[in-house]
Assembly symmetry: C2
Homo-oligomer: 605 residues x 2
Amino acid sequence: MEDDITVTFEPEGKTVIASSHTLLELAQCANIGLRGECGGKGGCGKCKIKIVALNGVLNEPMKSERVHLTDDQIVEGYRLGCQTRLLSGRCTVYVPPESRTGKRLISGVGLDEDVPLEPLVRKFHLSLVPPTFDDTRPDRKRLEDALNKPVYVPLSILATLPTTLRTAGWDVTAALWNSRVIAVEPGDTTKEVFGAAVDIGSSKVICHLVSLATGETVASANAENPQIMYGEDVVSRITYASKRPEHLQKMQDLIISTVNRLLDAVCQKSGIPSEQVYELVFVGNSVMHHLFLGISPKHIGVAPFVPVTGSLESFPAKELGVRMNPEGMVTAVPLIEGYIGSDAVANLLITRIYQSEKVSLTIDIGTNSEILLGNNERIFACSAPSGPSFEGAHISSGIKAVTGAIESVTIEGDTLTYTTIDDAKPKGICGSGVIDLVAELFLADVITKTGKFRDLNHPRIIEDGVPKFVIAWNKETATDGDITITEKDINEFLLAKGSLNTGWTILSRHYGISPSDIDSIYLAGSFGTHIDIENAITLSLIPDIDRKQIFFAGETAVGGAKMVLKSVSERKQLPQILRSIVYIELSVEPTFNTVYIKSIPLSPK
Amino acid sequence: MEDDITVTFEPEGKTVIASSHTLLELAQCANIGLRGECGGKGGCGKCKIKIVALNGVLNEPMKSERVHLTDDQIVEGYRLGCQTRLLSGRCTVYVPPESRTGKRLISGVGLDEDVPLEPLVRKFHLSLVPPTFDDTRPDRKRLEDALNKPVYVPLSILATLPTTLRTAGWDVTAALWNSRVIAVEPGDTTKEVFGAAVDIGSSKVICHLVSLATGETVASANAENPQIMYGEDVVSRITYASKRPEHLQKMQDLIISTVNRLLDAVCQKSGIPSEQVYELVFVGNSVMHHLFLGISPKHIGVAPFVPVTGSLESFPAKELGVRMNPEGMVTAVPLIEGYIGSDAVANLLITRIYQSEKVSLTIDIGTNSEILLGNNERIFACSAPSGPSFEGAHISSGIKAVTGAIESVTIEGDTLTYTTIDDAKPKGICGSGVIDLVAELFLADVITKTGKFRDLNHPRIIEDGVPKFVIAWNKETATDGDITITEKDINEFLLAKGSLNTGWTILSRHYGISPSDIDSIYLAGSFGTHIDIENAITLSLIPDIDRKQIFFAGETAVGGAKMVLKSVSERKQLPQILRSIVYIELSVEPTFNTVYIKSIPLSPK
């Protein structure tokens, strides 16, 4: 039997006493947001930490660590958290800023999700007549007669009905979800009726609290998706969750507890008791959808990538353990396919491309970018496996769009300028910064169309094992190192943009139009709102159309969830919208390889 | 702080170590079926026990004990379990046979509940086509398409659907309850489909397991209702359950665990896994109905005695913790009124008096006797508060219809003969025995029409504080005492029969007919099947009509539950039957007192 070891994480000073695990696992135990995009396999190198004190024995640095760390760094005590184990004794570990998951920047821009208010949750103030020997209708019948329609009354409501009615002096408010009674409350509470719209992203979770009496959003909150501990990308999470039933349970618990914390937060901010939240509508990709509902995502990960359901599903909150009115309902916006989630449906609701005769394109850039092209007749959909580079992963200095991320870059002659999120000292470069950088490097002739450095003697190119282009010198940064980009990084990015480009090119062919004939483009998601349109077009990340017809759709996911929450009509038209969608599985498209190979290199406009 | 005391119950030899409680409470802890019809208030005297060894201190005998025990008995160590506390030390307690709840005799007689088999639970064997890239319908849609109708799929089924379908090679059987999918099982299990019909009586609980593929009853089991620990009559149980939320929970737990044990028993007997029980239909009086569902019966006990629901209610088994298929449904047959339960509805279903033009009477004799009178136009219903004397309570030598109970009595001249249940040595007299006895005593002129002994020198009348008529001398009995009846006992019985008589007399008046014009009489319940018709008519317990038109309906309760279980048509006609019922609350009837006073004395035929 092994002895317990003791690890302290700095600067928090949190200590974990446990049997031997990797430092990444122990950081998770201590609730330290240590990055681990590759799922702890030593692949991404993001979980860099520094051993600052040691009174015990560590394992030797692994091969994968030598890939991501220089010899000097190893001497200084740097290790990868996922590869390092304290075998005995105690140690103190410093987690540097760039290795932290941190709080993500959430875009505030977006299309208006305003719809006429007609929620499925409705409240009715009722003054009932007390029973007499001449009128011995049972309590339930009395309620039903007052509501003037047949209703379903769940057991827990039935069980408390006699007491509630009599304590309230027969003056009550009934909350209905469709024809299901989800609450009976004393007095008139018709104004106190709320719902939550939740976007469960792989990286971040956003929760909006909406008054279903006024339609107003009364509070919002967001948090990291803690499942990120088990891999940044959905494939890692499918793998982890499919391994054992406990893993699936753990993944569900993590996301449910995060949503619960967000619900607590929005309720607290607005002074609303959680019992007054009667419906929660959520959107997410198929894997998030399945994990939230406790359904194994295993089969979404295996061809032909079929999800368990593509319908609007609603379940009582108590069955999922969501902290709201226990008889309230949790509604999952339908998925389109295994790799196109309900966030894409939300996107359609917001952009309304299904209403117009003109052909529009919506792109939600992410690890899997969802691309929809069509009009009121039909919509072609695909999921482009663009990889995590747009989110800062698989790029050596890449970080997510957090404080200190370089988010835009300009090169004029020999002068490079950049801006960072929150104007903080740079910690790395995020996706929008990479787009700018690659476009500017190409336009400034620093790189070739295949992304190779033309001149290794460029004043910003240093030799550090491989040639690296310096974006920010170490004296400028918050990381004590240069922020750089390598040819490998650029190649990674070109593959990603090629994948995206392939997606909309193939969809256009299916539709029988040229990409330049597309009427409008909607860029959805927080990433979309931060990119420079000209640079995106330079890189052929999006089709080259009239700039006035390119829109930032913003956080369409939570917006679409709000539309479903607020409007029965929006809900009702979902099946019809879904029927108009034709899913194109890129991996089995005959033209895929040809188009993809052509789409990788850069090309002059 | 008190020290723990130790009590051993004999002949079981079960020992309880606890802080000081009454011996009745400790017997309950030890699962010793000690009678306590009055709810442990010292009123019924049924919990007589004998202290056979004592090494500690008992409380002094209470006033109520001196009422039920002779001085000699007290000297011998007899006490009432509900009034006796061991204050310190240890003692051994003997529980005599007549103080035990024991196993009740359940009637096997009854009307046929056969109906065409058309259960709400149906199974469908499905061979699904596996998904391909050309057919990426989600699993749920694939299932729904195969079933060829829209269905509701609960979360737990949805969560396991992908694995079930793939493990089973897409060859599955779906169980539906209405349009709700309650199971998806590998292979063809269409023949393995069962339901349970349960009668939750105040005293006994009966469970029948029915094949919903053949309609056959494959096993049955019955048990005492352990709530009897908290009072024999429903009023005591309402009082107890209304006192504190924990009490309600306890009452629900007791009955649910009893039903679970019966389900286990019937499943074990027939070798059927409990997951194959997909619906449970139960009947019971309003209090049993509420307690089983965890609903406070408080308001049924208060005028105007309104139950929470009068509709057919179905809830998922998992919400109630019933041990069957967790997604299977538990269905409560509707109540008529606060004091007329769903057992009366079952009674109507079995006797079908709602179908005939002729006017029929059904009587279910119990503590509250349910009386229904009517035809296919309308049915008058009332609940007669006949008290527990028909069940052997409130009669000094009265016991329930258990082994050793005197169940019939004949008096010819000076000769009295009796029979006992199972031909065992007599332990007491049960309801049917009391009916015979009183009728025979009246016909033999031993008692007057008001129930007084005519001649205290009768060879069978002894003086023991009060005059007592000896039914069985102590040498014949299993109790070491005479089995007797007093004038007080006879009076108790006359009040009970008066109440019953008042019920059907008042209903007849409402209907506008004379009781002798009633076409048929159905005697329901186990008690009804054991009584002597002639004697019952002699006592005016039932109207005097053509004997050929008097039927023993038997266990209508469980039979009616089976009809609902087996037939959607029976279920569907319930609302219409219920609408034809006019409830008469006897306590507010203007003629009640006059009729009641007239109905108490005996009268020659």
